[in-house]
């Protein structure tokens, strides 16, 4: 009888949790020793070595590390990669595309540089776990909208407050006027668009001049009237924060380079889909470039079918520092596949991998902490059984800020629940 009660007791404990929902695993803090795997060191090749994670950092890389209390993770036959960085997304700023009240990246107003993407990030966005299980550990999340839509921020994909997630880089976004059509519904002629842009340029020049004057007044010790728009421009004018200039069309890229270089600011070009046509101008002025998505259609009907695939590779071969982005909200997880296509269509594999790791870290000025497997960098990394760009590859372990992250998300929960649904067909 006791045995029966015991059995029932055990069942009573086990069954309800099966009926009422899954176990949600939490991020685990601790000391972790990754033993026996290969480490992807990019320019320094691939080496067989152990890696110790402690205090949130990569504490040690060496052959045969030992540690008394570390949790050992057997990585034999597996490869350790630095966590990938997507340098252009709206992750955390939007939940459901068609419901505008869940979209926080596009504020009203032409000149709103003071809008902070970081504060609007939803740390509990369902898309975040969905993204990181594919090996993307940090992203730049970017406001969208009119001319100066706001300030972007780099975040790690772990944390319950935006501050916890913040990685230490911010950039001011500037959408450069260009002669392109905004969408398939935009039927304006090129002349009409040019005219509209000319008008905008006068306004932009006016705004920029005002910002410079504002900055001058502050530098001189006086306090101008409250003006959040101009105040937000000050770090850019003082070269404390770069300008992220979104520009895609060839002529506009050349204008942007010319304008940016004249202004004595730090700037980064983003988008740059016709960059392959003006790579020499980009190298001449050493302009860092964030381009993507790679999985994109050509911008003109007359373009070769693979211009978007080969753009990043062509620029990189010409000497441009190129980072790859998805420009996505809920499918940032496709970053490795974007990099994979760039590698397929002419970019060396190593450079494609750098484009989603160390290059964005350099461009954002956080390369001391991010972008590669090196001692004392933040432990953002993942372990896989093969090339992370290949869909067939499985990711086995994921670490962000040194926490062991469960490889689960809404998508995997639904898989677990519905692969073999209980009840099945009966009762219909």
């Amino acid at each position: 009888m006791n045995k029966l009660i015991l059995i029932f007791a055990i069942l009573a404990f086990v069954l309800p949790s099966g009926l009422y929902g899954q176990q949600i695993n939490k991020a685990e803090a601790g000391i972790f020793l990754l033993k026996g795997g290969e480490l992807e060191l990019m320019d320094d090749g691939r080496i067989k070595a152990d890696l110790l994670i402690q205090d949130g950092l990569i504490k040690e890389i060496a052959e045969n590390i030992d540690h008394p209390t570390a949790q050992r993770i057997d990585c034999s036959g597996l490869i350790v990669f630095p966590g990938m960085i997507d340098s252009g997304t709206r992750l955390g700023l939007g939940e459901v595309g068609s419901i505008s009240l869940t979209q926080d990246h596009n504020e009203i107003g032409t000149y709103t540089p003071q809008m902070q993407a970081l504060t609007a990030v939803n740390p509990n966005s369902v898309s975040i776990p969905v993204t990181r299980v594919n090996g993307v550990t940090s992203v730049l999340t970017v406001p969208s909208g009119d001319r100066f839509p706001g300030t972007a921020a780099m975040i790690d994909l772990l944390g319950y407050t935006p501050n916890q997630m913040y990685s230490g880089f911010k950039g001011l976004v500037f959408n450069f006027p260009s002669a392109g059509r905004r969408g398939w519904w935009d039927s304006r002629s090129e002349d009409e668009i040019k005219k509209a842009n000319k008008k905008q340029w006068d306004e932009i020049k006016d705004f920029w001049d005002k910002a410079k004057l504002y900055n001058k007044i502050i530098a001189g010790g006086k306090k101008p009237d409250y003006n959040p728009q101009l105040q937000a421009m000050v770090p850019v004018l003082n070269k404390e924060m770069p300008l992220l200039i979104e520009v895609n069309e060839r002529k506009a890229i050349l204008s942007a380079i010319k304008w940016g270089s004249e202004q004595e600011i730090d700037y980064i070009l983003t988008g740059v889909s016709e960059g392959y046509l003006v790579a020499d101008s980009l190298t001449k002025y050493d302009v860092p470039v964030i381009t993507g998505p790679v999985l994109n259609n050509p911008s003109r009907n007359s373009d070769h079918y693979d211009v978007a695939y080969s753009n990043a590779g062509k620029m990189q071969k010409a000497g441009v520092r190129v980072a790859i982005r998805t420009n996505e909200t809920e499918n940032v997880r496709n970053l490795p596949f974007n990099a994979g296509f760039a590698a397929a269509y002419g970019m060396e594999w190593k450079e494609a991998f750098k484009a989603v790791t160390i290059i964005p870290a350099q461009i954002f000025g956080v390369v001391d902490k991010y972008g590669s497997l090196e001692r004392n960098k933040i432990a953002n990394l993942f372990v896989a059984d093969g090339d992370p760009f290949e869909p067939k590859t499985d990711i086995k372990y994921l670490f962000i800020r040194g926490y062991n992250i469960p490889l689960e998300s809404r998508h995997s929960y639904l898989y677990d629940e519905f692969l073999e649904r209980e009840p099945g067909l009966d009762g219909n």
Partner: protein
């Protein structure tokens, strides 16, 4: 309806007369053939004669036939996209919740550069569909990507099953309920659109039957919309239904049971995995996205494991694009089912070959490398499920329609004489949530 038969016959005959599609001969030598139905054959040749697969075997020797050396390369059946809106000049007649009479096949556009781009991604056939603005949309057309032809008629895939687009959920509710302030504004209303249409069609058929049998002297009104809905009830027009939520999928299956309609292919069906057993029992097909979700509320609770779950529950599943961007790398989209659900190579490749062929009623013609099937074939330089695979040549009916070695930059057939440089399209944020609702500027935005 005798009158209708004559009508249809005239059209059909004309179709035969005018559409003579080109066929070709080619011998593909020494490749790794992924047959889909008969395993993977290494170092094997494939011969296409008069547009049909004639021989599969080792060391085929034949007279004077164009030969392609596929050593080290992979040969698979041409990829089939079961949900597309390329190559048509009209996608949505969004003015009424039921527009069963319109037919996108009337507006084929053989000059759409996206056809060529799809060929560069190994896609030989696409299902050109009406959009999802209406609960009962318009008739669709299965087309072969015969790039270079001028006559729209020549794009039709002769003998393909006739299909019609239905749509459930937010799209028809938004266009008609929110936009037009008429039913359907809820999923309850969507069900009634179907029941009304089917019931009215039954009455229509009866009225014509009476006239044909001499029971009445004056011909009843001819209503082209009711003619189309009648065809659905008679099983001559197969439903492909844009759907997301599990409950609406079940609703439609129940409605079809009530009216005796047996065949249906659900499209997108993001929550199909929640009712996989019911879909399997009905015999319904599912054509899904690889990983699109969260762009609308009805897909917020989706999973990229959808294709794997459906496949493992016995539902014939395909992966589609519904996008002029995704259609270019469906081989990569299929590969994602290996990361999300661990499908085998053959299971994954079936999702873009034989399964969509079954769903479009053309599996006797295409979808696998078998003798007698059409010469629709793609040659890849690496295994198609690798992210690094690049299609090298794409054949439709044995004719080369894409060859990476003779692929100049500007492949447009027709050029606008009024512009020198084609317009530059800025990157579109979320192309996918516009694709099924194309062509609705005035109805949705111009209030």
């Amino acid at each position: 309806m005798k009158t209708l038969h004559i009508y249809f016959f005239v059209f059909f005959v004309f179709g035969l007369i005018s559409a003579q599609s080109e066929t070709g001969d080619v011998l593909i030598k020494n490749g790794t053939l992924i047959t889909i139905t008969d395993g993977v054959k290494e170092n094997t040749d494939l011969l296409i004669k008069n547009g049909k697969i004639d021989k599969i075997g080792k060391n085929i020797s034949t007279g004077d036939v164009n030969t392609v050396d596929a050593t080290g390369m992979y040969v698979m059946p041409g990829i089939i996209d079961a949900h597309s809106h390329i190559a048509i000049d009209a996608v949505n007649e969004g003015t009424n919740p039921n527009t069963a009479e319109v037919w996108v096949g009337d507006a084929l556009d053989p000059y759409d550069i996206n056809i060529y781009r799809a060929l560069a991604g190994g896609v030989t056939i696409s299902h050109a569909m009406h959009g999802s603005a209406n609960a009962i949309g318009g008739q669709c057309e299965t087309i072969k990507h015969r790039w270079g032809i001028m006559n729209p008629e020549e794009m039709r895939m002769e003998g393909a099953v006739r299909t019609i687009k239905f749509a459930l959920g937010e799209n028809p509710m938004r266009v008609h309920g929110e936009g037009g302030r008429i039913m359907p504004a809820t999923r309850m209303g969507v069900e009634q659109v179907f029941r009304n249409a089917f019931s009215e069609a039954q009455e229509y058929m009866k009225a014509w039957e009476d006239y044909d049998n001499g029971k009445s002297d004056m011909a009843p009104e001819y209503n082209i919309r009711m003619e189309a809905v009648s065809d659905i009830l008679k099983g001559d027009l197969m439903i492909h239904c844009h759907s997301y939520r599990a409950d609406e999928i079940l609703m439609l299956m129940n409605v079809l049971r009530d009216f005796g309609v047996e065949k249906i292919c659900f499209q997108h069906v993001n929550e199909g995995f929640k009712v996989a057993p019911e879909l399997a029992e009905f015999g319904a097909y599912a054509s899904v996205f690889s990983d699109w979700w969260a762009y609308k509320f009805e897909v917020y609770y989706s999973t990229a494991y959808n294709a794997a779950i459906l496949t493992k529950n016995g539902v014939i599943t395909s992966i589609n694009s519904d996008s002029r961007e995704l259609i270019r790398h469906l081989y990569h989209e299929a590969a994602k089912s290996q990361r999300y659900g661990g499908l085998t190579d053959n299971e994954a490749l079936r999702l873009i070959t034989l399964n969509p062929a079954i769903q479009l009623g053309i599996d006797d013609r295409v979808g696998s490398l078998e003798k007698g099937k059409d010469g629709d074939v793609v040659i890849f330089d690496k295994h198609p499920l690798s992210v690094y695979a690049i299609p090298q040549m794409t054949f439709v009916d044995g004719v080369v329609r894409f060859d990476i070695n003779s692929d100049p930059a500007d492949m447009r057939i027709e050029v606008d004489p009024n512009e020198t440089m084609p317009a530059f399209m800025e990157a579109v944020d979320h192309e996918h949530d516009d694709s099924c609702l194309q062509g609705l500027n005035e109805l949705l935005f111009d209030k």
